[in-house]
């Protein structure tokens, strides 16, 4: 059984203008119906396999993106959807924008576009799904889960 049969999404809007968000949601509607591939929009990092981030990362959302990523169980894949998520896009030069999502967490798939089209996004998801299987294989071979008890103090998280 391959993991690729059931990729569950978590969608996070880091600082998007909402253009890409609408397209992400559009792909879950009956018209595009990504559930054909078993994709479910979970809204919960702890159940998700694929993190779809739209918009570039700014100072305020940096911590959130990191936290959501840390709460996803392995294996997991990150998709940067839209040009802003890929490298900052037209907001790149803004005083508060860090740049693309990859400035904060490792990104696996880049799906450019302004806004990203559902077809492109679905294509990205299909690629991500293959990657999930590969990561699962890798996980089996190096069966080492990080064991870490207790929580981080508030101050460190804020950094």
């Amino acid at each position: 059984m391959k993991m690729s049969k059931s990729p569950w999404l978590l969608h996070y809007d880091a600082s998007s203008c909402n253009g890409c968000d609408i397209e992400v949601l559009a792909s879950t509607t009956p018209r595009y119906d990504v559930e054909r591939f078993g994709v479910i929009n979970t809204g919960n990092p702890k159940h998700a396999d694929i993190l779809v981030v739209t918009g570039g990362v700014n100072n305020q959302t940096k911590m959130v993106v990191k936290q959501l990523y840390s709460q996803m169980p392995d294996p997991k894949v990150v998709i940067a959807a839209g040009i802003c998520a890929c490298d900052g896009g037209i907001f790149k030069e803004c005083y508060n924008v860090n740049g693309g999502v990859d400035t904060v967490i490792p990104v696996d798939i880049y799906v450019p576009g302004c806004a990203v089209r559902p077809e492109a996004l679905i294509d990205g998801v299909v690629k991500a799904v293959k990657l999930l299987d590969e990561k699962r294989e890798a996980m089996k071979n190096h069966a080492s889960c990080e064991v870490h008890y207790g929580n981080t103090p508030a101050k460190e998280v804020k950094k």
Partner: protein, 642 residues
Amino acid sequence: MILLFLFFFTLGMSVLTALLRDEKIRGGVVIVGSIIMMVLDVLFCVWAYLNGVGDNKVLTFLPESGLTEKCTYVFMAGELFLFSLITVLSVKHGKYHCILLSAIGTIPVLWLDITHKAVENLPMLKVDDLTILMFMVVGIVGGLISIYAVGYLHDYHIHHKDVENRSQYFQALLFLFLTAMYGLITSDALSWMFFFWEITSTVSFLLIGYTKKSEAVTNSFRALWMNLLGGCGFMVAILYCALVMHIGSLTELVEAGPRKAGIVIPVVFLSLAAITKSAQMPFSRWLLGAMVAPTPSSALLHSATMVKAGVYLLIRISPLFAGNLGGIMITTIGGFTFFAASLLAISQSDGKKVLAYSTISNLGLITACAGVGQPAATWAAIMLLLFHAVSKSLMFLAVGAVENATGSRDVEDMHGMVVKFPKMAYVMTVGICGMFLAPFGMLVAKWAALKAYIDSNNVMLVMFLVFGSATTMFYWGKWLGKLYAVLHQSERHRDVVHKSEWQVMYCLTALIVSLCALFPMIGTVFVQPVLSQSFGQTVGTIISDNDIRVMLMMLIMIGLMPVLAAFLIRNRKEKMTMAYMAGVNAGDDRHFIDSLGGIRPSYLSNWYMEEWFGEKRILNPSLYLSATAVTVMMIVAVGGAL
């Protein structure tokens, strides 16, 4: 005579504690005395059992008439003393209605005794299986609570500097109460029972007013007048029995049978007395007010024993409820109280208030069971009484200990107890589960009650029960949940609970678990004979052996759960993360980062559904409704009989 010795020993303890000023010596005396009392109690039960009580025999005591007469004079003096005590205190606080009620209750009974109109030459005391069961409850729970009270009061007065330290008075009252309770459950003569009945009312009044704060005084007088009103009902029943029917004892009354003309009048008035004492609606408010008293008295009087006196009386006369208006009145009030009080409990966050409403609610269920007037229902009533006494007193003691240790008895403040105060969390878990969860006691008894209701074709009661048990689950469940929130990096509470208090709580916990395992035996050995005596017929199997076996399996599984879980998760590789808080968890699961980057605390409250089940919305309508029901049914019943 072990009985008399037990009786006078407890009374003597009361006097002794009242005299001992030094706290340490008194504490020691109370502990030793309570242990002796419990031993005597058990000895008495064994003795009674050996003398044939177990084999459907009843031990009656007919003291030579000289002694009876002397006792009667002592009791008359006692009643006069109670009356004058109430008068003095009522005048002092300007509550004159209590004097009137007390006078109405006392004077006719005195008159009856003085003019020798009372029925004489009766067996005044009687011991049967129900008495033994009650002895077990009163003696063991009462003794344990007295021991607990020693440590508790010590801490109580450290935390409440504004309250005058009258702990010797408190402990003396506890023992006085236990004496009265022993008297109440052994008396068969109505007039004797009435005397002890009035003592318990008065002691409860005095204990509620212990702190002398204005709220406590108000509440104590509310408790007093309601209980005195019940006493008046008792008085009417005695008068009617003596003057019209020439009956002077409970046994005779029950033997007269439900078909006898006019019997409905004493039955209805005795029921009135019972529902006031057991705080059924519309008289439920006194029990809530009683929660201002220090916890040991709440545990002993207002949950485990005194309020049980009401339902005890109902169980005694339950054969008389079959197919008459008295029965309908009692089942309606009981069923309604069970449901309404459990709704009200949902909206409470004060631990003791939840317990109070839950007590009212469960007493309602027992009342309803007794009112059905069928052996199977009475079986359930006795079981409920037993399980409730043990579980509820444990819960009260635990809440009291938590209050002394943490300074709050609010359920909200018990958040994360499993980490902060693990021992207490486990004790409370057993107490709470004992109240409503599957293999534990109360649920078994509820189950039996449900079957009995169905078999007696009482649709209304079944509906009350199914809805009431759903709401019961809600308020207990969310309390249980509160205890189990795991808070990382939290400090443990300092365990300031006295060793003696812990031992008492462990004893009760062990008692709950063993009762669950032993209940089939208790059913056949103790409860069955009671029923065959009072109903003259045996009950079939209430809960089949198969079900009992399954439930024992569940009990064992729950017992093994922690071990099994520890074994299964021993080698698991798990990654620990923070709880999900929409990505803005500040790292400790208790704070989040707001939109300006500041750290704010998050607070997880339970649901209280105020706008659905709040006191404001439900309390008054249900009081009016039940008051109307009681009044109408009493008028109809009495009018019909006359």
